[in-house]
């Protein structure tokens, strides 16, 4: 019963806003090429979901986001752990990281177009750059946060480098790594869609630009809603995963 009231509360305000939008578009802005009533957009969404191009575009966006995340977060994780475990390396690289980190990833879109042309590699490279820095910083913090006594135990047991890494450092870093993963996934999706809107003629972002340019506002709104759903689903999924890992490791948040 509680759950039902909470669910109703959650959709009440959006439902009212959508109804208001519907009324405004049908009366004041009827016949507009720029905006469509939400009901028409919903029908366009249902229609399009049954067709292949919708899923091709979604698959392209998700593939490039995950590919870029794999490279960017992977490199960020390794380097971050390295820098976090060795204070000297951290001191050496601090200035370079602070100077390179504020460059907006979208500023590299033209460079990526020059190098890779259009397509998956260009988008994945921008996503990799964008996800590298936050994961680097978070991994560094996670590695620095490893309990020093655990490292002393490793030294006392004369563990090899790989054993130390696998058995002590990575498990100690795991909760923060999942937070970094959640952040990275969110950034990856946002950057993918942004690159597609700005330049890359593939994927969800480009489908939105096409819908806008071919004066199909119902499709545009359908894509916008779909992006929101994807983002929310990915966020919820990774949050659930993070909580599950934290529970397994006995951390109460």
């Amino acid at each position: 019963m509680r759950l039902l009231t909470r669910a109703l509360q959650a959709i009440a305000v959006p439902a009212v806003l959508l109804a208001a939008l519907e009324w405004v578009v049908r009366t004041v802005a009827s016949g507009s090429d720029a905006i469509a009533p939400p009901s028409t957009a919903a029908m366009a969404w249902i229609r399009a979901m049954g067709q292949a191009p919708w899923w091709h575009a979604t698959q392209f966006t998700l593939t490039s986001a995950l590919t870029g995340l794999a490279f960017g977060a992977g490199a960020g994780l390794l380097l971050g752990a390295l820098i976090g475990l060795h204070p000297r390396a951290g001191r050496l690289s601090a200035l370079s990281i602070e100077l390179l980190r504020p460059v907006p990833s979208v500023a590299l879109i033209p460079l990526a177009i020059l190098i890779f042309g259009f397509g998956l590699r260009m988008e994945a490279s921008i996503v990799a750059f964008a996800t590298f820095w936050p994961v680097l910083v978070l991994s560094q913090a996670a590695a620095r946060g490893v309990e020093p006594r655990l490292l002393e135990v490793a030294q006392g047991l004369q563990m090899s480098w790989t054993a130390r890494l696998v058995k002590i450092v990575v498990p100690a870093m795991l909760p923060r790594l999942f937070i970094a993963l959640r952040l990275g996934l969110g950034i990856a999706l946002v950057v993918s869609v942004t690159v597609e809107i700005a330049a890359n003629p593939h994927g969800i972002g480009y489908a939105m630009v096409e819908a806008q340019q071919s004066l199909a506002p119902d499709e545009l709104l359908a894509w916008l809603f779909w992006v929101g759903v994807l983002g929310a689903a990915i966020n919820a999924g990774t949050l659930a995963l993070q909580r599950a890992v934290e529970r397994r490791m006995g951390i109460c948040a």
Binding site: R6, Q9, A10, I11, A12, V13, P14, D33, A34, I35, R88, R91, L92, S93, A94, L95, S96, E98, L99, L100, P102, V103, P104, S105, V106, A107, L108, I109, P110, L111, I113, L114, I115, G186, L189, V190, V193, T194, I197, A198, A199, G205, M208, V209, A211, Q212, P217, L220, L221, W223, L224, V227, G228, G231, A232, I234, N235
Partner: protein
């Protein structure tokens, strides 16, 4: 002898940077990568000098483009921060408002703000207003959500203190709730600044508005890698300056917080 070691230690951070710059110089001069996308450092410096009109017969274009992007970024950020903090305080202070609105706000949080750019262009055309709209829309969420978080997490004891002192609602907000939420608000404003820079650049690229975003896109199309890198350097400088200023403000305003944690 310790002063020598301290001196060497102080130079360490610069060492890696110098090494990276040297690597760039060697890579570009030796032609390890195509000159079309890896210009020499001197070419980039030349483009920067020309563009900022320090030397040579440049037209100072980069300076004006930087000004446009900066104006867009700051205007959007200020508007978004004000709206976000105002709305966030109202929503955060009321438990009922949070119950009704929080799920919708959480749904909007992961939405890529650039996804509304085609909609804004459809509604407002290829104009400065469309870009500014998208910048404000994108930058408002971090400020709003962090204000809601900060204000909602006011300790119930503090509320009881306010009730015991018979503080009026406005006094409670200004003297207790907002200062308590200040760390969260400032963190949210930092994220808003990053978002507003990114959205300004993307908006300029798509809506063909004068600014650094359009400048680097045109430089790429004309294969002028020096100008491209110069534009990227300037954008990085904008981001760095913004972050640094905000960090300074953060340190100043939150001095009372660290003082309490003797």
């Amino acid at each position: 002898m310790t002063s020598l070691r301290d001196g060497a230690r102080a130079l360490e951070p610069g060492a890696l940077l110098a090494a990276l710059l040297a690597l760039w110089w060697v890579a570009s001069h030796a032609g390890w990568a195509n000159r079309a996308f890896l210009p020499t450092p001197e070419a980039v410096l030349q483009s920067l000098a020309d563009g900022l009109n320090f030397a040579g017969p440049g037209r100072g274009e980069l300076a004006s483009f930087t000004g446009h992007t900066l104006r867009r970024m700051v205007t959007g950020w200020v508007l978004a921060s004000m709206a976000g903090i105002a709305l966030g305080s109202i929503i955060g202070l009321s438990k009922r408002a949070r119950a009704w609105l929080q799920p919708m706000l959480e749904f909007m949080r992961p939405l890529p703000a650039s996804a509304v750019l085609p909609l804004a262009i459809a509604l407002f055309g290829l104009s400065d207003g469309a870009v500014l709209c998208v910048v404000v829309f994108g930058a408002i969420w971090p400020a709003l959500l962090s204000t809601v978080q900060g204000v909602a997490s006011v300790d119930p004891c503090l509320r009881e203190v306010a009730a015991a002192l018979q503080l009026r609602h406005r006094a409670f907000v200004l003297r207790i709730a907002l200062p308590h939420a200040l760390p969260d608000i400032l963190a949210g404003m930092k994220l808003s600044l990053t978002a507003s820079l990114i959205l300004s650049v993307v908006g300029e690229m798509i809506a063909s508005q004068p600014g650094l975003g359009q400048a680097i896109l045109l430089a790429a199309r004309a294969f002028r890698a020096g100008e491209l890198f110069a534009g990227v350097v300037l954008l990085g400088a904008l981001g760095l300056a913004g972050n640094a200023l905000l960090a300074l403000v953060q340190r100043r305003l939150l001095k009372w917080q660290s003082a309490l944690l003797f």
